[in-house]
């Protein structure tokens, strides 16, 4: 027997393959991947054929008009439920499963490098997660386009996006929400490393996502709202206005990625510090929990301070001017759309010179912030006449800046759900419409 050479660690590519084999061999992972590739398409196609549309979900009211509304409805649903649960299922379990099965020592002996194990596991989870998200996008887009067609999409401010532009923005919106999804996945990795066999490790991304959603429903300051890692799940809406609201979206993506990097780095450090010979240890304990939670809290506080200082926006970010501008813009775009439907001579937004006069609580309350008591009187001009048109809308405005405007007369403009067009009855775009307020914009445009 001669002195042996030291065993070399298994290359990362082999480690990754090993992790993928383990993940894909699980029935629940296979079923969920299959569901991600099949269910959204069937759902979108089925809903698009219904007479009642999910108008509470953004773009739901346009599902009859274009196939590109389907993947956006799916995106709204995914940001709330599907993506947090998928990250829980995959990333929340990737380390904890080895604790549950008691296979850490076996894996370490086989791979001989905790670093490579960590990277392989993270990449394995990421691969499966991206596969699932790709399924959601592809399936819902295909279902929508096949069932309804490749038609132009009405944007969030009422302007019309060509079918090609809509398709590209749908893909871009889904790409943007990868950032908060990665943040949740990294929190899942951290929870999986920290909490070992505990079921909390598995549930952590879903619990964090739920907490983030609850926070977004509260009237918190804009800087706090944007500093939360799930904000890009909301901020993608800004891609469907003209001009696109890049500010909140880019901040949301940046914060999401920062959280992803920080939580992954914390998980990495804690994982490397773990002693795998100690049988008593199946996680890294309460002290490490402190090390995991404190840095992320510090990151949140630092993000709030930096965003607050950099944007200079305080309070809710929802002011009277912004609401009036947003409602007037959306109305003008949609008025043109209605004009086209009714086969009337086209008018431009400039000719209409639409303005809105909005108040809150019947003028008794400070016109600032979210609420369902916003009321707007919209005024517009028609060419070759001195008379002005007026319409009233009740707004339900949520703290994240999104609103639904419900027509409150006159009935000729927004009183009926349908309008009579030469080609038959069609949904009246002015009856009810969605819009949003750019929380960061400070100066009036145009």
């Amino acid at each position: 027997m001669t002195a042996a050479t030291l065993a070399r660690p298994a290359p990362l590519s082999r480690g990754l393959r090993f992790e993928l084999v383990k993940l894909v061999s699980q029935w629940r992972i296979r079923l969920v991947v299959l569901a991600c590739w099949v269910a959204p398409g069937l759902f979108v196609a089925a809903v698009s054929q219904q007479s009642t549309l999910p108008v509470d979900t953004l773009f739901g009211r346009w599902m009859h008009a274009t196939g590109w509304a389907g993947p956006l409805v799916m995106l709204g649903f995914a940001g709330t439920w599907a993506l947090p649960l998928l990250t829980s299922l995959v990333a929340g379990d990737v380390f904890a499963s080895e604790d549950r099965l008691g296979t850490w020592r076996h894996l370490l002996v086989a791979v001989r490098s905790p670093r490579r194990i960590f990277v392989a596991k993270s990449l394995g989870a990421l691969t499966v997660l991206v596969l699932m998200v790709a399924g959601l996008v592809f399936s819902s887009a295909l279902g929508g386009v096949l069932a309804v067609g490749n038609q132009p999409l009405v944007g969030l401010d009422g302007h019309l996006l060509s079918a090609g532009d809509a398709g590209a923005r749908v893909l871009l919106a889904w790409a943007c929400v990868l950032a908060p999804t990665l943040a949740l996945a990294a929190i899942g990795l951290l929870g999986s490393v920290l909490l070992g066999k505990s079921p909390m490790g598995l549930l952590l991304p879903a619990v964090v996502a739920l907490a983030l959603q609850l926070a977004q429903m509260l009237p918190i300051p804009v800087s706090v709202r944007l500093a939360l890692p799930g904000y890009a799940y909301i901020a993608w809406n800004g891609l469907f206005t003209s001009p696109a609201q890049w500010g909140p979206l880019l901040i949301g993506i940046g914060v999401g990625l920062l959280w992803a990097v920080t939580a992954t780095a914390l998980a990495y450090v804690l994982f490397l510090r773990r002693d795998f010979t100690s049988l008593a240890s199946d996680g890294t304990g309460r002290r490490a929990l402190l090390f995991g939670v404190l840095p992320l809290t510090a990151l949140l506080v630092a993000s709030i301070v930096v965003i607050g200082a950099a944007t200079g926006v305080s309070g809710s970010g929802i002011g009277q001017d912004k609401v009036q501008r947003s409602v007037a813009t959306a109305f003008a775009h949609l008025y043109r759309l209605q004009t086209g439907q009714l086969n009337r001579p086209d008018v431009t937004e400039a000719q209409l010179a639409t303005t809105a006069d909005c108040n809150k609580g019947g003028g008794q309350r400070d016109p600032e912030g979210a609420g369902n008591d916003w009321r707007c009187v919209i005024t517009w001009h028609l060419p070759d006449t001195t008379a002005t048109g007026q319409a009233i809308y009740q707004l339900d405005l949520t703290p994240d800046g999104r609103y639904m405007a419900d027509g409150d007369g006159p009935k000729e403009v927004n009183g009926y759900f349908l309008v009579h067009t030469p080609a038959g009855d069609a949904p009246n775009p002015l009856w009810q419409f969605d819009g949003n307020v750019d929380l960061l914009s400070t100066t009036p445009k145009g």
Partner: protein
Amino acid sequence: MDRPRAVRARGITKCFGVVVALDEIDLDVAPGQIHGLVGPNGAGKTTLLGLLLGLAVADSGKLEILGTPIRRALDAPDGVAGFVDGPGLYPSLTARQNLAALARLRGRDPRGAGIDEALDQVGLTDVADDRAGGFSLGMRQRLGLAAALLAQPRLLILDEPSNGLDPVGSRHVHRVLSGLAAEGTSIVLSSHRMDDVEALCSEVTIVATGRVVFSGPLSKLAAENRELDYRLRTSDPVKARALASEAAGITVVADEVVRALVPALDELVTRLVRENVAIRELTPVVSPLEAAFLNLTQEGTP
């Protein structure tokens, strides 16, 4: 030419916080030797096996595995395989898939990795395509051994390999381990089953509370031991009891049970035969190893 020892440990100490798991442990394992590691629960056996597998590094002391000094965790040399704290298996994979995934991880083509042979050696050919999640503890132990065999080990580390094995499984494992040792593979195994250790191991190390209380050949252990209880069944129990009572160095503990050292026992046997008392059974009530284990590990226990 001197062949390096498979394991050479000197003064190994390992602590977990304030708990001293191993305290100045010495261990030598020769090539081709099956070395038993026994001790009460919490004695430090699994920690020691973990160090031999390279899962961690000792806080102090010197450790050489297959002639290679170990200075960092996971620095174990090629040719070291085995498991501690149960075999690492993935329940969603079949027995064959578990081994194939492991072979690929080690950079080997599963088709030429000897998976079928390994499964055959441990007697799992019939269930090769069943998911490991449905396996009994004994089957998992055997699959863990098959996984270790794929690495063509020169040093095999096994933590409680006999756990959950039925007699057939136990025979498979014994045959495999004896065959490996005959080919020059060194094996260090821990076990709570003294019959297994006695049947397999040529040398044994007994650890208690992190310290070595005995290390050496089994024969030396028996010789060093104090008096043992033997069951003595004869054709004339009354006469045999009388003769035993008179004999020097013999204590009659109960009917047909005497306590003695081996030389005194030899004399009693000679005398019984001379007095025309036929001996029908003469066996230790507990095995020499078990007796030694109990003596050594209970010393100092209140």
